[in-house]
Subunit: 121 residues, 2 copies
């Protein structure tokens, strides 16, 4: 199995294991999508662009407000969550979930997926 | 007690009730500080500017990624959290905490403070 296939498998497992997770993607620190499991109505290019912006702003906010190196960004909207966390060095795991998601479970599943991705990347 | 005094009291209660909360501020949607309880080493102007940026980016991310209207932004760094949530309409409550903070407790205390602020604003 290629590295991309392996990453896609990890993302699909993450997505199917928690019904509240609508989309998952591995993104490089430059905001390029490495692998993704996105539903049809969510465009990859939009996710990538927004991840890059969130990453750069999150890094700036964490540093300027004395919180150290960025580890995670969470955006909660009325219709769900955007969660981004560092996976392997230089890469990020992004998840979009519905508003019914239990955050603790999402964080746990994402940490596990990030650790698995770390072995592949 | 003036509205500002009342807000300062709510912020100080929030800050003193949870030792992990280092700073708290009420910010307008334009990124102007309305009231704050900040330690000396954290500059108000820096907090205000960063809040305005986080707010505009968070709103864009939530909308573009189909998550609806923005309700909360969380940034986790190696040395702690930045949490921002809507308080009264048009205002935000921002909290800086150490890395030892229990997120669930911070969210709970912030929601209570936001509800109290809503009565004053």
């Amino acid at each position: 199995m290629s590295r991309i296939d392996e990453m896609n498998r990890i993302l699909r497992t993450l997505q199917s294991g928690t019904p509240e997770i609508e989309a998952a993607a591995v993104i490089s620190e430059d905001g390029l999508v490495i692998a993704s499991a996105l539903p049809q109505h969510i465009e990859e290019v939009r996710v990538a662009g927004m991840s890059a912006t969130l990453l750069s702003l999150g890094t700036r906010a964490a540093t300027e407000l004395g919180r150290g190196a960025l580890e995670q960004v969470l955006i909660r909207g009325a219709r769900g969550y955007v969660v981004m966390m560092t996976a392997a060095p230089g890469t990020l795991l992004l998840v979009l979930s519905t508003q019914d998601a239990k955050l603790g479970l999402i964080f746990l599943d994402m940490k596990r997926a990030a650790a698995e991705l770390g072995k592949v990347l």
